[in-house]
Symmetry: C2
Subunit: 336 residues, 2 copies
């Protein structure tokens, strides 16, 4: 029987796809596939930081709940988040490809354009080219290039060391609740809370300034974004760094609206915060002194520690818990 | 009634999409959206040349007729062709995004990887990152960055001048016949001819070395690739340059296999050569002396002239003919 992509599973597929890409790269490639973005030495000094992310209708969004402007914003935001996840990186330029079913209203395309351009301008990012093609489902792909002055401005996933503190910015799980609301899971609770959660899913904010500030205050020893959820980020940092990670479920930052939503659905907010993806917060590790400086500036909070061993363990109130169940959504924003 | 993308039409949609992208670009952008690729000034001197192209199942290819290796090859080839279409540009690095239905065999993904890597290595091109996402139809998107030493190494669409000669490399219409064969239009004729036409569609060759040679022998005054057919290339060069173009249908370079195929179907080979897309040849204009140098080196042949006025006129044996009917295939590879 021929093995299918579904049979292999998302993470093993990537594990197969990326190493093959890493073969025989030239010496100008400082960081190849497998981190949030790749790093390429520029001819005149400095480094280009390069990433791509694709968003597909029904995998990443529902056309009914996502305006053209939302999609234009988000497909660029997730790419800029990959640049932020590399450290002190200045967004420079990129290109966009848009697949559109013929019956799509022109206003959707105009909105897409608007959402994209607004976010680009906000970050001094130039969209220098585009491709529009026919497709059965709306598909948007952006490739983004940023600029780092020094190699040390880039913080990889592989730098976590035993004794480091694991930290996250912002709050977790909001976007997952927003997605669940879109998918019909709408308990009765306050409308402003609902709007907050939806916005967290539809309009993620790339944490570029925060990444720069973390790099200066810390620096972090490892850094990535939380696109696929804190638990998955921790797994990937632990793998890349050859360490173990212990997360404390009781310390995960949970927003008020997520708390209300989870309670209304009879769920544990910590569980949603642990595995929910698409928040585009930053997940990092830092040596204790650096972590204290980061916390003192209010940039991120501690949620765990880097330990000996391998893999990620979850604790709650000092008691070890099982491995959480992740949502295999066939999307993935974790690669450069 | 809401206007749809189909109602607006492919070319007008692009005309709407691209100028909006051109708003407020920073000064480092030397050539913005609208040519085969964009040109961005590099910090340390030189220029980055940037393009993206997306390929979607059932728009650009049929899964039954396209192996993973074919797709990996082609999606990179069409991007490298955009770099070639900018002149003397050295391929540098790029990223790939792949949308895949869960039921896709893993062997397809492995083949995709192989086709991509082989072509990349051949051109000293580094694939530095990738994204794999779920999708209902196979969708592949590449963004490619090349390098030009001087701004004058780049040849735009806008440089054609009255009195210039219009030229093309290779032969035209082969890929369109290959696509027609895939779509079931398979008259009885020789198997090697069929294989040739299919290969021209499935495995286009980016003309990077040829573009460099043209730049040195000529230089051309305007240059682009023939991704959407010679007629469409001529329309776009005429528009961008503010000139008229006269094409001589009797002079179009037609391969033996295309001649056999067209005759077997009762079609005019010149008609197929005029509008058929996906050959990824180069279309250029050059001042008469430069055109003679180019022809003397056997790099391209003359198929028309740049004239006063606007738009593209077709002549055959000295007699003017009507505007050819183009295939609106909802694909487009003509933008940076």
């Amino acid at each position: 029987l021929a093995r299918t992509v579904a049979g292999l599973g998302q993470w093993r597929l990537l594990g197969r796809f990326l190493p093959a890409l890493q073969n025989r790269l030239s010496r100008r490639v400082a960081v190849g596939p497998g981190d949030d973005a790749a790093v390429v030495k520029a001819a005149g000094g400095g480094f280009w930081v390069v990433t791509t992310d694709m968003m597909v209708e029904n995998t990443h969004f529902r056309a009914r709940w996502t305006s053209g402007e939302d999609l234009g914003h988000k497909v660029l935001a997730v790419n800029l988040s990959d640049l932020a996840a590399m450290g002190d990186v200045r967004p420079a330029f990129g290109v966009v490809a848009l697949g559109i079913p013929p019956r799509t209203p022109v206003s959707f395309v105009d909105g897409f354009q608007r959402g994209l351009s607004r976010l680009a301008r906000l970050h001094g990012f130039d969209i220098v080219g585009g491709d529009t093609v026919g497709a059965e489902k709306i598909t948007a792909s952006v490739a983004a290039v940023g600029w780092a002055r020094r190699r040390s401005d880039c913080v990889l996933r592989s730098g976590a060391r035993r004794g480091d503190v694991v930290m996250v910015t912002g709050t977790l799980g909001d976007a997952a609740a927003g997605l669940a609301i879109i998918d019909g899971k709408r308990p009765r609770f306050s409308a402003p809370d609902k709007r907050f959660l939806l916005k967290r899913f539809l309009r993620p904010v790339p944490k570029l300034a925060l990444a720069k500030a973390l790099r200066r205050a810390g620096p972090p020893s490892a850094l990535m974004d939380s696109s696929d959820g804190l638990y998955r980020s921790a797994v990937l940092i632990a793998q890349a760094s050859g360490v173990g990670i212990r997360l404390d479920a009781a310390r995960l930052p949970v927003s008020g609206p997520l708390g209300s939503w989870a309670r209304a659905r009879g769920l544990s907010p910590a569980e949603v915060a642990l595995t929910g993806g698409e928040d585009y917060e930053l997940v990092l590790t830092a040596a204790p002194a650096a972590a204290r400086r980061i916390e003192a500036q209010g940039l991120a909070r501690a949620v765990g520690t880097v330990a000996a061993g391998r893999g990620v363990q979850i604790f709650a109130g000092g008691k070890k818990r099982g491995v959480p169940r992740e949502h295999e959504h066939w999307s993935n924003h974790s690669q450069g």
